[in-house]
Symmetry: C2
Subunit: 332 residues, 2 copies
Amino acid sequence: TADVLIEADLRGIESHGAAMMPWYDELRRAGKINFAPRVKMARETVATALIDADGGLGHVPGVRAMRLAIDKSTMAGIGCVVVVNSNHYGAAGIYAEMAAKAGRIGMTTSTTHMLSVVPTFGAEPMLGTNPIAIAAPARRNPPFVLDMATSTVAVGKINVARLKGRSIPAGWALDERGQPVTDPERALARKHLTPLGGTRELGSHKGYGLGVAAHILAAVLGGASFTPLRQRRQGKSEPDNIGQFFLAIDPQAFRADGAFEDDLDDVIDALHGTRPAAAGQSVLVAGDPEQTCRAERMRGGIELPDRLVEELRGLAAGCNARFTLSATSPAL
Amino acid sequence: TADVLIEADLRGIESHGAAMMPWYDELRRAGKINFAPRVKMARETVATALIDADGGLGHVPGVRAMRLAIDKSTMAGIGCVVVVNSNHYGAAGIYAEMAAKAGRIGMTTSTTHMLSVVPTFGAEPMLGTNPIAIAAPARRNPPFVLDMATSTVAVGKINVARLKGRSIPAGWALDERGQPVTDPERALARKHLTPLGGTRELGSHKGYGLGVAAHILAAVLGGASFTPLRQRRQGKSEPDNIGQFFLAIDPQAFRADGAFEDDLDDVIDALHGTRPAAAGQSVLVAGDPEQTCRAERMRGGIELPDRLVEELRGLAAGCNARFTLSATSPAL
């Protein structure tokens, strides 16, 4: 779990790194997460498996699921593993990239604990930000890694606008009647997000459909919960039964060894060579910003906000865990 | 091929129905499509296959590929088939729904003949509208069928705005410098589309990433072409080597028979029950509009524009094919 959280911080995805721990602890204290889970195989075929996470955090079963999908793709050309009775698993792109590092196309989706995304034409949230991540290996270039929430933006971006005293674009968030909100304070009061596209006119029905598709793969396929129905039926300390989907495809089942990576390098190079709209900003490929950030942080370390360090110190004290981080720690 | 075209017209996806035939004939006359192809299996494992379409139209190898993916999912829990040396295959959703009708989750992506989508931060098109379709079976409800171009809108929508004398929203199309265009005439002169999201601010980097992911699955995986590179190297009558990706997942590999369909029914019912933003427009689920249209057209027939009927008449004459459609044909 620590590996996955640190990896997110290395990539600059701070919302899914160490900053998650206070929330995980909150769920632990509410009795909603099993901190001594027995992760087990529930079903298996030559190319598929169902893993029961036993109500624990999603990171360990997630890594296990993607490893198993990769292994199965060696035998069958493709491997598909679903995890049920899980919880938050951190940054989806990390699992997809595991597959890419093993020479596979990787894909993963997850459901979420919270409801935030309002369907097109709707006035109340019915989905989480249900992420989709897809990665693929190149040779000269770092892997392609798309890691996206199916909402237009994350709540964090609205908060940044609030802190900077800026209004937010129509199409990020909605009021209680399903109408666009541009005041970040009002948007944060409800946290009703739009699906990718933002408005019907700009294709929000597609983002909404992708969010449902992510839910079908991550939850309906394995038997995880659908949040609006769960919230109606669930007791206060009952687990959320989050689900995750993992897919690995071996290009060698389709092409000669290396041909896939060579072609993807050509695609990535061509995309990088796109004539830019503005002189200062060249065209990127999914995964580029995270690669740049990771390289910098492997050299310079990850700077944690003082407030987070203090929260983690309190959390360690509450668990009788030794706290080894300090503001000047050379380990940082 | 005719079945797939008629199915598109039945669903109201007229842009991918009989109206395609004049363009297919154009490609035929340019020597770019093989009208006597020998579709053949190129590679096969327990759960995967590569089909060579031999330069023919994509519909017949597409149907064959999805059938094979479904068959493989019976044995292995999942089946993945890629088609290379193909051409346009019509409406992607039809193939995904084939899987749903067979009780499977279905997914397909395709590359395209034309370049139209401009990457985020770019000023020139580098991708096609690369569609993604995902379908899944319910029991009480028609299947979930998401069928989306990874661009914000199709060119056809811009043309409709032109015909109605309306401006288009900023975020549909771009000028030669990569800036938003609101005049539909100017937009149609170049046909430079945005990726889903429309602008960077509203998440176009996600739509751009999805377009590249669709290309990786449909083209890089099997060895089909990347249009910007193809256009630099290709002779005039050389085939385009379009690629398509087909995936079928059997829920029975993960859950007891029927549990998936029951849960998806609950999800669909809950989504339909979302409190609407406006009294007149309830919340839909992907596939709903096409289901409604299909039911109407199965009763009332498909009305073809006079101009299309005349084009088809000319096309039939040019091929020495008997033309059996008439404006009053009861077969309509």
